[in-house]
Subunit: 347 residues, 2 copies
C-alpha cells in the first residue's frame, strides 16, 4: 500500500509541511532536503493519488501545450518554442506537458474534462478554432500562441505578421527588386483551413503589394523539400521574370533553394531568396545560408507561458503581445539583376 | 456547478452507460452519438473531476512519452516517432501526452507520483538511467524506446545498432572503401553521458573495424550544422586520405556535406558520405541527397506504444524488438576513388 506523507517525513527526517512543499511543488526546498525527501518517496513507494490530491487541492501545477503534431510537423522553430516554454514553466514551479492531439475539439474536450492540468496553451490557431470554444465553454484557463478571428477576452501572444512582412518586402525593395513571388504553406489539409499565420502573412503581402503597386504572386506549397523544389520549377516556368522569392515555409525553403540551384539559377545573383519566420537552424544549414527574418519562437514560448501562469494565479491578464521576426543576414539576397530575367539568362 | 453524467445523458438523449463509454473512452461509440454527447458535455460544462474519476477508476487512459526536449533536440526522425506513437495510442482509445521534462529523476518522480497517467514510454535512454529506477520503484507501468545497461525485466523496443552499422560498413566496403571515418553525436552534455545509441553505434563500428582490419576513426560532433562543417574541416586536415564518412548525427549531417562541398571536395567522387539512422526528410533535403540507412522511427513508435498498452492491459509483455535501419538510396556514396586522396586532389 502507498505510504503517507507522514511516513515520508519521518523517513526523510523532515516536517510533513516540508514534504508537502515538495509534493505540491508549492515552496522552494533546499536541493539536499528535496533529494532526501524524493529518495524516501521512491523507497516507500509514495504515490500522490488523485483522490488525495483532489481533496487537498484542485491544482496539479501541470499546464498542457496543445500542439496538433499529427497534422503539423514541429519544425526547428517549433522546437525552440517548446523548449523555451518548458524551461519557463519549470522555472515557475510548473510542469509543461505537450498534448500532440489532433486538431479536434472532441479530443480536447475529453482531456480538459479530466482535470489533469491547471491550464492550456493552444498552438497552431486557426481563424475559426473550435478548440477555443471548448476552452471557453469548459472554463479552462488558457492562452493562445496565435489568434483566432474573434479576439474577445483572449489572452494571446503572436507574431506581428504585418510588421514582419513589411520589413521583408522593404528589404527586397531596398535591393531594387520591383516585384516578388511569395511561397507560403499549403492549407490543402482540410483540418487546417484558415490557419492564422498563412492567412495573415498572405493578407499582409497582398496589402503591401497593392500599396507599392506590384502584382502579388502567391504560391501555396506543401511542407516538404520536394514541394519546395516543385515550387522553384513552377516559378521559373510561370514567372520567368522573377528576381526575388519570399518564402514562408520552414520545410520547403531548403527545397526551393536547391530547386533553383539545380536549374543553374545563381542565388542571389539571378534570384534573391528571403526566408521569413523560420529558424536560424534551418537557414544556416543550407548553402548559401538563407537571409531570413527569424521566428521569435523562444520569446513567444516565454511570453505565452508567463501569460498563462498569470491567468492561473488570478493576476491581471497581460496585454496581447505581437512580436516581429528579426533580420538574420545570410547570403541569399542581393541587388536585383540589371536587365533580363533568370529564364532568359539560363534558357 | 458541474453537471452530472445523468444530466449529460438526458441532454444527449442517451443512456448513462453510453455517456460513461465516452467519458472513460472505454467502448466504441457511434461518431454521431459521441458528437451529441460531447456537445452536451461542453454545453453543460460537464467536468470529470479527479475525485469522481479516481473513485470510479484508477485509469486515466493517458500515457506519457517522456522526452527530454530541453537536452535533446527532437529531429525529423524523432517527430516521425512521436506522431506514429500518438496515432497508435489514439487508435487504441488512449491519449499520448509528451513530457518534455529534463533528464532528471526528481522531476519524473513528481509527475508519475501525481497519478496523472496510466503508464510511461521512456525515450533517449542512457546505459545508467535513474529514470528507469524511478519507474521501477514507483511500480509505474512503462516501456522503453531504447535500452539501459541492465535489461532485467525491461519491456523495450530499440534500434538494432549492430545490424545497422554492419550493413552501413558493408555498403561502403562493397564500394571499395578500405577505411572510413565515423562522425557521431557529442556526449559532452554531462546529462547525457553514456547515451545508449551513441555508445552502441560506436561500439559496433569499432568491433566491425577490428574484424575487418581497418583503423576506426571516430569524431564526436555537436548536433548543429556548424559542428558538421567543422567536422568536415577536421577530417580533411587530420585524415586527408579519407574516402568515406559514416555520419550518425541528424543535425550535423547537412553541415558535414556542405563543409566538404565548400572545400571543393566532390561527393561522392572524392568522398562518400553515408548517413545512418536519420530521417528521409533530412537526407532528401540536401544536395546531393544523402544515401542513408533511415531510422525506423515510425515503426518504433507503433511497437513501443503497443508494448506499453499490453503491459497496461495486464497482457503478457511482448518480447523485446530490435529494428535495423533500412537503406534509402541517395547520391552521396559511390566507388572509392582509384588513387590519391581528397587532400591531394584538392590541395
Amino acid at each position: 500500500m502507498a505510504a503517507t506523507m507522514r511516513e515520508v517525513a519521518e523517513a526523510a527526517g523532515v516536517s510533513i509541511a516540508t514534504v508537502s512543499f515538495v509534493v505540491n511543488n508549492s515552496k522552494p526546498v533546499a536541493p539536499e532536503t528535496r533529494r532526501r525527501i524524493e529518495e524516501a518517496m521512491v523507497r516507500l513507494q509514495f504515490r500522490r493519488n488523485m483522490v488525495g490530491r483532489a481533496l487537498a487541492s484542485r491544482r496539479t501545477r501541470v499546464v498542457a501545450l496543445v500542439y496538433p503534431a499529427i497534422e503539423h510537423k514541429l519544425g526547428a522553430s517549433g522546437m525552440e518554442f517548446v523548449t523555451s516554454a518548458a524551461r519557463t514553466a519549470s522555472a515557475a514551479g510548473y510542469h509543461l506537458v505537450l498534448w500532440p492531439i489532433s486538431n479536434d475539439a472532441a479530443e480536447l474536450t475529453q482531456l480538459v474534462g479530466q482535470g489533469l492540468v491547471d491550464g492550456v496553451l493552444l498552438m497552431e490557431v486557426q481563424l475559426e478554432d473550435a478548440r477555443v470554444e471548448v476552452l471557453r465553454a469548459t472554463r479552462t484557463p488558457f492562452a493562445l500562441i496565435g489568434r483566432s478571428g474573434d479576439l474577445r477576452d483572449l489572452v494571446y501572444v503572436d507574431i506581428d505578421f504585418d510588421a514582419t512582412m513589411q520589413d521583408a518586402v522593404d528589404h527586397l525593395r531596398g535591393l531594387g527588386h520591383r516585384s516578388m513571388v511569395m511561397v507560403t504553406g499549403s492549407q490543402a489539409d482540410a483540418s487546417f483551413r484558415a490557419y492564422g499565420p498563412y492567412v495573415r502573412a498572405e493578407a499582409a503581402f497582398r496589402r503591401i503589394a497593392a500599396e507599392q503597386g506590384f502584382e502579388p504572386v502567391v504560391l501555396e506549397c506543401e511542407q516538404t523539400t520536394q514541394s519546395g523544389r516543385a515550387a522553384a520549377e513552377q516559378i521559373l516556368a510561370s514567372w520567368p521574370g522573377t528576381t526575388a522569392v519570399l518564402v514562408f515555409n520552414e520545410f520547403a525553403a531548403p527545397g526551393l533553394l536547391s530547386g533553383l540551384l539545380r536549374r543553374g539559377v545563381c542565388v542571389p545573383q539571378d534570384v534573391s531568396v528571403l526566408s521569413v519566420l523560420t529558424s536560424t537552424e534551418m537557414s544556416t544549414s543550407v548553402d548559401p545560408p538563407l537571409t531570413a527574418f527569424s521566428s521569435p519562437g523562444a520569446e513567444l514560448g516565454r511570453l505565452g507561458v508567463r501569460a498563462l501562469l498569470r491567468v492561473l494565479e488570478g493576476e491581471a491578464a497581460p496585454p496581447p503581445a505581437l512580436l516581429p521576426g528579426t533580420l538574420v543576414p545570410g547570403s541569399s539576397t542581393g541587388p536585383a539583376p540589371g536587365g533580363g530575367s533568370a529564364r532568359e539568362r539560363h534558357a
